[in-house]
Symmetry: C2
Subunit: 286 residues, 2 copies
């Protein structure tokens, strides 16, 4: 079997040269921004991109600005060779994998804030996180100027922040948010799952199980949020060893808590399993 | 004499339609963003734009977000008919004059901060001002996607904030900063000069006179900043009725005060003449 070698650019100059040629050929460009440590969730974005766009660009950049001072930036998995192998054969035109200094020049001092969407939930737990996300995504969108950019719904609030930013700043770019990809038992794929011990891995499934329970309850007619949240908390408590950061039923546009389910509602959860922080979500009542 | 009627767009849709045609014709686009109340200073930007670019777009938008709650947003001069008459015959391809709601949609919540460049001087006197400037300029740059955008050096710190933003956010746009245009006696042209009474107008010339004195002193060899600032303060005090907000000799890239003149230095002044706040600056030691 032949493996196709994927082209990799590490500088802005190489990136621009390659994209100029793509644009000159009249091709549409799709962007899949990632932090590497790729898994089937990322692959589903790449495949959606390759279906919709003539040219698929994957960026691999572990963005220091979206990690807090006590978070896992230094130990975040960096697996470029494996990432390139995984992407092979999926129609990727170019991987852009720059060094930190290629993205952030000395004296970088410009930041983007998305105020409402970035404030609750992850915004409260991880101060500065969405500022870092919005800033790097805007930079990547400007460097690449894609027609479409693809994000995973697993990071629901991130996708909301980015959709708001793109609309508010008048970027002529379509944002596509793709479904969460899960392990057979329901655990949402995440680059951070590799941190889990075998025991933690077993307990971690309670996150998705609690979300599925919530979806079932809504489907069967439960409307009172506290009833649903209470049942979800029981599932998490029974698994043991799970410290919940937040568990909410919220309006999917504003992320404000809803007391009753009267329309599409996002159930969002963040929890630490051992030392590993996981997030997951599900849209209920769709 | 025939006057050419300038084309005016008031919606994004009209703007995009016109610019698509310009781009399809392979023409370069220059942007001159203004708040209207146009004077010869703006005209010099328009002329620089028409010289460098195939198509000149002037935007006229009084941006509420860059005014503080106690500032002059509601009384800021709005003179669209006179503005269009002034622009006539200067090679303007299109004027974009949108309503506030056309630029800021309901729920707008994304803001751009340029931290260092936006902090001292005007940033300290007018909290939120540069956040408003950076945000609206980024939106206009995204709506227009010009090859070049033109700004006046009269708003020196604003031009620095915008240059930093464009560099940090990787926008493929050249920023041109054009010299301040002055009245014969030296007063920098400003849309706010119309607020001045005849008496205030006479006193206001002390701002530019103090800057000219500083430039002369540096040219003749003075290097000590306090000696220069002291002479400038005397000029302002002698004029009478001028309340200085700040008066600095600063590094033109960082806006940090310099104790001695060892290279290009910006002399920047903000002062209230009666109720009218004026700013002016000069680069010394070039």
């Amino acid at each position: 079997m032949m493996t196709t070698k994927i082209e990799v650019a590490t500088t802005r100059v190489e990136l621009a040269r390659r994209l100029d040629a793509v644009r000159a050929a009249g091709k549409s460009i799709g962007l899949v921004p990632t932090m590497g440590a790729l898994h089937a969730g990322h692959l589903s974005l790449v495949e959606a991109c390759a279906r919709q766009c003539d040219f698929t660009l994957v960026t691999i950049f572990v963005n220091p600005m979206q990690f807090g001072p006590t978070e896992d930036f230094s130990k975040y998995p960096r697996t470029l060779e494996a990432d390139l192998a995984l992407l092979s054969g999926h129609g990727v035109g170019l991987v852009f994998a720059p060094a930190t200094e290629e993205i952030y020049r000395p004296g970088h001092e410009t930041f983007v804030e998305v105020e409402q969407a970035g404030t609750p939930l992850e915004g409260r737990m991880r101060p500065g996180h969405f500022r870092g996300v919005a800033t790097v995504v805007l930079k990547l969108l400007n460097l690449v100027r894609p027609n479409v950019a693809f994000f995973g719904r697993k990071d629901y609030q991130q996708s909301l922040v980015i959709r708001r930013m793109v609309a508010d700043l008048d970027l002529p770019i379509e944002i596509r948010v793709c479904p969460t990809v899960r392990e057979p038992d329901g655990l949402a794929l995440s680059s951070r799952n590799v941190y889990l011990s075998a025991d933690e891995r077993r307990r971690a499934v309670a996150l998705s199980r609690s979300l599925r329970l919530a979806a079932d309850m809504v489907r069967r007619g439960t409307r009172d949020s506290e009833t649903i949240l209470s049942a979800m908390r029981n599932v998490l408590a029974e698994a043991g060893g799970i410290a919940v950061d937040y568990l909410v039923l919220a309006n999917p546009d504003t992320l404000q808590d809803v007391p009753r389910i009267t329309g599409p509602t996002v159930a969002a959860i963040a929890a630490r399993v051992g030392k590993t922080r996981l997030i997951d979500n599900e849209i209920l009542g769709e």
